[in-house]
């Protein structure tokens, strides 16, 4: 502004040249900023298990569909989680892990995914917003309960060291499903396989059973459901067949991952006025 004012008032053509270059700079930087986000695409990969209040990594694969030009200084925001990508070459893609925490069990919307960039000049922030209407089912927050409380609810826990748990020895490495604590992620193995891997540790086991969450200890329904969630996860990880008694509804005891997801889903939807995810 000052230089433009000076140029007009002095009539000095050299200053006009400088002002013209600065105007050109503003025009081209605007175009570059717009072009930087113009041809970005993404895929969102959700883990199978997402728990209320537990930090979960959501994988977003970002594609730059421009043939030659890179996309620069991208900052991706989702559900309060934020991750940066300094440079994505033309025609390339990158996988970004966004740490997200959902609040409240039941069906939730993924919400808005926003890609920001300050490129090329840090004067303005350009944004692209995508409304992701995709529904996700958030399971109750797992809430460990004591042995006595579990026994009072008719649940006994075994003591076999060969079963999965959190404290024992490393038994094997498996894919990250979303429900495991972040401390169990095996970063070296994840880097090698280009996908997240978790450590499975040995734990205790117990005989098959049917859990009635309403009989479990807790100050309210949510705490009881959380306790049931923890029990289902813990027991099924040890290979036990687990069933569920929810009011008048009953799910027969069984084992396996699909069954576990069915049980957790039932807990998530219980007493919620929501439709199926």
């Amino acid at each position: 502004m000052l230089l433009g004012f000076g140029a007009v008032n002095t009539g000095n053509n050299l200053m006009y040249l400088l002002v013209s270059a600065l105007l050109g700079f503003m025009a081209v930087s605007g175009w570059l900023g717009r072009n930087n986000l113009a041809r970005l695409q993404f895929d969102v990969h959700l883990p199978e298990e997402i728990y209320d209040g537990v930090e979960t990594l959501i994988m977003v694969r970002l594609y730059n569909r421009q043939r030659w030009l890179p996309a620069c200084l991208l900052a991706l925001q989702l559900q309060g989680g934020r991750v940066r990508c300094p440079l994505l070459v033309g025609g390339g893609n990158v996988q970004l892990a966004v740490a997200v925490t959902f609040r409240g069990r039941g069906v939730r919307k993924l919400g808005e995914l926003r890609i920001n960039s300050t490129f090329p000049i840090n004067f303005f922030v350009r944004s692209l917003a995508f409304h992701l209407d995709r529904g996700i089912l958030v399971f109750p927050r797992p809430l460990p309960i004591g042995l006595q409380a579990a026994a009072a609810a008719g649940i006994t826990l075994g003591d076999l060291a060969r079963d999965k748990g959190y404290e024992g020895d490393l038994t094997r490495i498996n894919d990250y499903s979303g429900g495991e604590p972040l401390k169990l992620i095996h970063w070296k193995a994840s880097a090698r396989h280009d996908r997240l891997k978790v450590k499975e540790l040995s734990s205790l086991v117990a005989p098959p059973l049917v859990i009635d969450p309403l009989k479990l200890p807790g100050r309210n329904l949510e705490e009881r459901l959380s306790a049931a969630c923890w029990l289902i996860k813990t027991l099924m990880r040890s290979g036990r067949s687990v069933g569920l008694q929810l009011g008048s509804g009953r799910i027969a005891a069984n084992s396996g991952r699909p069954h576990q997801l069915r049980l957790l889903g039932a807990l998530a939807r219980y007493d919620r006025d929501t439709h199926s995810a």
Partner: protein, 634 residues
């Protein structure tokens, strides 16, 4: 891996260097010393990440420098203190720790320093420096953005190439657009702050009076006085008229306003339009090819003896157009013979006797001139610029003793003899000759071409007589070399400087209006401004052509099916307001959501082909295109 900070520092120091470079010679000693010292110290400090100057010290130093130069500011002395302050501020900033906003301040100071240099010099060096500053500052600003997002950011060396590719688009695009904006930005006819502009740096050796004998040696420089855009002319036509000296006072010829009733009419001759670009200050006198009847511009005052003067002082350099009449007769109207026959009382008896002996009162003016010319030849006068006659009796010494002198001696003595013989005469001061630059089609007139000749009134016509050509060495003296061209590399440099002046320095409101009217493209010859715009236009056409090629390539490499579905999705977005359609939403679902039969048909035809892994049949393709056309019309 390379640290972004390293790149940022490199471009920051480069921007500082290019910003201050054209200014450096005009800085005072403290700034001249402090700036390079700060560059070196800053580089070392940045490398070690330990700084000599803390924030508080830097602020105190800045305040001190501001106060020092602020006190020296006054209306006639604005630019110098301001630029010294800017450079010292830049030096202080270089030796302190740099946050992202400090880098930004450095870039702004560098740009202001370059802008300040434009108020001190109009040298063509400005342009390459401007280009380099734009490149370094824009790249620096881009890396500053990376640095601001993560100060520790390092990028793999392989990713620098795409980064530089996209980053270089910024300075290149800025410089291309600069040419367009330069042409169209608004200009005023009388800028308010004109006093801040640099005037011509040199003063012409051209003088408003002629006094032979004052100097024992005449050593004129080859400094440029003006350039003339003109067709090729013979040396005998290259007389550049500046001033007419019409009275003799003591031993000196001076100018007085010609008698009021006097007029002059040009008869015959060939009209010749020229554009003149003055380089040196000539105290308001505008040089034109002799004789010129018209000089363009309302700011010019012309008198009856064809002397053209600027009405008002214009500090910034301007060009002017003149229309000369080559070979025309200067017909005097109501000429005051007595005015042009005045003689100084101190004129020597020897000169009077010589004049009396040369002619008789019954001789015509033409005969008298011929006899005087014959006398000059008989005297075997030598054209010389050293060992000249002294100030006591310069003309007698020139004509009878030393017999050597330069144009002032020849012209003064010849005109004086003519007046003694009763022929009205006057001296004309200006330049003779010109170095032709064929590369750009112009003449350069330099200081050493300054010349004085005589005009005598013969049969009511002012006739040009150049007595210097009566010298015995006229064919070998410096007069002959006045039409010669310099070396090719000098011509090349001079041509670059000429184009700089023609295209950039002298571009003003008049030329802008001329362009707006479209007249700039139809003027005779190649207009400076039009050539600039043609260049800018050509560059834009090249860029546009490249974009078209890229678009075509992209279009040809994308399959017909993909292009059809892309157009379909675009139309859905425009016609049905369905923005941000999820990428995983099926085409049929999308068509169902619009509720439009054409969309459903499109989806059905497309899906039938694609999901069976076959290409579209020509009939299907035609039908899809018809549906798209229909959707476009809605």
């Amino acid at each position: 891996m390379i640290a972004i900070r390293t790149l940022l520092d490199g471009f920051t120091y480069a921007a500082c260097l290019f910003g201050v470079l054209p200014l450096y010679a005009y800085l005072e000693l403290p700034a001249q010393v402090a700036f390079p010292a700060a560059m070196v110290t800053g580089l070392v400090c940045d490398r070690r990440q330990r700084y000599l100057c803390g924030r508080i010290t830097a602020t105190l130093l800045s305040v001190f420098v501001f106060a020092f130069y602020g006190l020296r500011l006054n209306l006639t002395h604005v630019v110098e203190p301001a630029v010294n302050f800017l450079v010292l501020l830049l030096a202080i900033r270089l030796i302190t720790e740099k946050q992202p906003r400090n880098y930004l301040q450095i870039f702004v100071l560098a740009i202001f320093a370059l802008a300040g240099s434009s108020l001190l010099t109009l040298s063509p060096l400005f342009f390459p420096v401007l280009v380099l500053l734009v490149v370094s500052a824009t790249l620096g600003l881009i890396f500053l953005t990376f640095h601001a997002s993560d100060p520790q950011l390092c990028l793999p060396t392989g990713s620098l190439r795409p980064l530089f590719t996209v980053s270089l688009m910024l300075p290149v695009g800025s410089l291309l657009l600069m040419m367009v904006f330069f042409g169209i930005l608004p200009r005023t006819q009388y800028p308010l702050w004109n006093f801040l502009n640099p005037g011509p740096s040199a003063k012409s050796g051209f003088s408003e009076h002629v006094r032979p004998g004052v100097f024992a040696r005449n050593a004129a420089s080859r400094a440029l006085v003006f350039r003339v855009e003109s067709e090729l002319l013979g040396l005998e036509d290259l007389y550049w008229r500046g001033i007419v000296l019409n009275v003799v006072e003591g031993g000196s010829w001076r100018r007085r306003t010609p008698p009021e009733q006097e007029g002059l009419r040009l008869s015959g001759g060939r009209p010749l339009t020229q554009i003149i670009y003055p380089e040196a200050r000539t105290d308001g006198f505008l040089f034109t090819l002799d004789p010129t009847e018209q000089v363009g511009g309302a700011w010019v005052r012309s008198s009856a003896d064809l002397v053209h003067v600027q009405r008002t002082s214009r500090k910034h350099r301007v060009s002017y157009q003149s229309v000369a009449r080559l070979g025309a007769s200067r017909i005097a109207q109501r000429a005051d013979h007595d005015f042009y026959l005045q003689l100084p009382p101190s004129i020597s008896q020897r000169l009077r006797d010589t004049a009396a002996a040369l002619v008789t009162p019954s001789d015509s003016a033409a005969d008298k001139i011929a006899r005087t010319e014959a006398f000059f030849r008989r005297q075997q006068l030598v054209y010389a610029t050293s060992d000249l006659p002294g100030p006591e009796r310069p003309l007698e010494e020139f004509l009878f003793d030393k017999k050597r002198g330069y144009c002032e001696f020849f012209a003064s003595s010849f005109a004086l003899l003519l007046r003694l013989e009763g022929v009205p005469a006057r001296l004309v001061g200006g330049y003779h000759g010109g170095s032709r630059n064929e590369l750009a089609g112009y003449y350069s007139i330099t200081e050493d071409m300054a010349h004085v000749w005589v005009e005598a009134l013969v049969d009511n016509v002012w006739r040009r007589i150049d007595p210097s050509h009566l010298a015995v060495n006229a064919n070998s003296a410096s007069l002959v070399g006045r039409g010669s061209a310099p070396d090719w590399h000098r011509r090349l440099l001079d041509a670059a400087d000429y184009y700089w002046t023609r295209v950039v320095i002298s571009y003003d409101l008049a030329k802008q209006l001329e362009l707006a009217k479209g007249a700039g493209f139809t003027l005779r010859g190649v207009s400076a401004v039009s050539s600039m715009f043609r260049l800018a236009g050509a560059l834009l056409v090249v860029v546009a052509g490249l974009l078209v090629v890229i678009w075509l390539q992209r279009r040809l490499t994308v399959s017909v099916e993909k292009r059809l579905v892309q157009n379909f999705l675009r139309l859905i977005e425009v016609r049905f307001g369905m923005k941000n359609v999820p990428s995983n939403l099926g085409l049929k679902t999308l068509a169902d959501q619009t509720g439009d039969a054409r969309c459903k048909e499109f989806a059905a035809i497309y899906s039938a082909a694609i999901y069976r892994d076959r290409v579209l049949q020509p009939s299907e393709r035609a039908r899809l295109q018809r549906l798209l056309r229909s959707l476009r019309k809605f």
